[in-house]
């Protein structure tokens, strides 16, 4: 099967709205967000869902940008950052990935686990706490960005770390945005 056939099969079966691999700078992020926004608007997606997608996309891609601003890696590793946005009848999934140091992995894992353990009420409370006292952020073991994403999606954050060498790992994070609201059963 040719590359074109394989690609076509993939985008049909998975309904891929966007895939990108490369460096993440401000302009690239704006462009990627614009592409996704265009396709979900043209597909007639509801405004509330569109906004959630844009918010989460911006937040997760800027996380990558901010991380490399703090801790710079070999350019060849930085350029392996990626994003995939897929869509099914029930949900959208935003997956982002980038290399990071093993050191960073430990703190990040703790943060995500922390967020995933919180109920919506907890998330709401901690969100307000951090917003009011940004310095609390570190001691609470979670940044505002992750909490905000978990609040908006009302889903757990999926993640994985794949070892690359002794110093670096490939980090992947997936967030699901439901298209249909759960109906309350009595």
């Amino acid at each position: 099967m040719s590359a074109i056939d394989r690609y076509y099969q993939l985008i049909q079966s998975e309904k891929i709205l966007l895939t990108y691999k490369g460096s993440m700078d401000g302009e690239t992020i704006s462009f990627l967000v614009k592409l996704v926004e265009k396709s979900i608007t043209e597909a007639g997606e509801k405004l509330a869902i569109r906004k959630k997608i844009v918010n989460i996309l911006v937040e997760s891609l800027q996380n990558i940008l901010n991380y490399f601003a703090e801790e710079s890696l070999d350019k060849s590793l930085e350029n392996e950052s990626f994003v995939i946005v897929t869509c099914t009848k029930q949900e959208y999934e935003i997956t982002v990935g980038n290399y990071l140091s093993t050191q960073r992995m430990k703190t990040l894992k703790k943060r995500i686990d922390n967020v995933n353990m919180m109920s919506q009420e907890d998330l709401q409370k901690v969100y307000l706490d951090i917003l009011e006292n940004p310095k609390v952020s570190m001691s609470r073991g979670a940044g505002l960005g992750l909490i905000d994403m978990a609040r908006r999606t009302q889903n757990k954050i999926n993640y994985s770390f794949s070892p690359y060498d002794n110093d670096y790992v490939l980090f992947m994070m997936g967030m699901i945005i439901n298209r249909v609201k759960d109906t309350v059963t009595i």
């Binding site: 401000g26 992020i29 704006s30 967000v33 614009k34 509801k46 405004l47 509330a48 906004k51 959630k52 844009v54 918010n55 911006v58 937040e59 800027q62 940008l65 901010n66 709401q124 969100y127 307000l128 917003l131 009011e132 940004p134 505002l144 960005g145 905000d148 908006r152």
Partner: protein, 126 residues
């Protein structure tokens, strides 16, 4: 004192801070990578304005999207308005949200809990 007017970009909102009538507005999306760089001059302007404010100050937030780093500065603006309000000045804050945008409504409600200042939620049709 001069008014502060900054046109919007694809990452930053339009700023219309009118020193003459005390009406201020932020309109559009606020997703800059460097929120400090964008918001610091706005906060400084409000400090300057607060030295001799108009009888009534009105602030309208008409935001489509904002990232979490912007939310810290939006709260910063509200804190400054709160001080003005506590000093006995008339301050009105309007938080505009699209009727379908429950997240934006929620954020408005969140901010309302943090600052002691009347914030009016204003719903608009998408």
């Amino acid at each position: 004192m001069e008014s502060l007017i900054i046109e919007n970009t694809n990452k930053t909102p339009k700023v219309f801070f009118n020193a003459l009538n005390g009406k201020m507005e932020l309109t559009g999306r606020s997703i800059p990578e460097n929120s400090f760089q964008f918001y610091e001059p706005l906060l400084q302007w409000i400090d300057e304005y607060s030295k001799s404010p108009q009888e009534q100050t009105q602030f309208s937030f008409r935001l489509d999207y904002f990232n979490t780093s912007s939310s810290m500065y939006i709260l910063g603006i509200l804190k400054k308005l709160e001080r003005l309000h506590l000093d006995g000045k008339v301050v009105k804050v309007f938080w505009h949200y699209d009727s379908e945008d429950e997240d934006m409504l929620q954020t408005g409600e969140d901010l309302k809990q943090i600052v002691k200042i009347p914030i009016e939620m204003t719903e608009s049709e998408g």
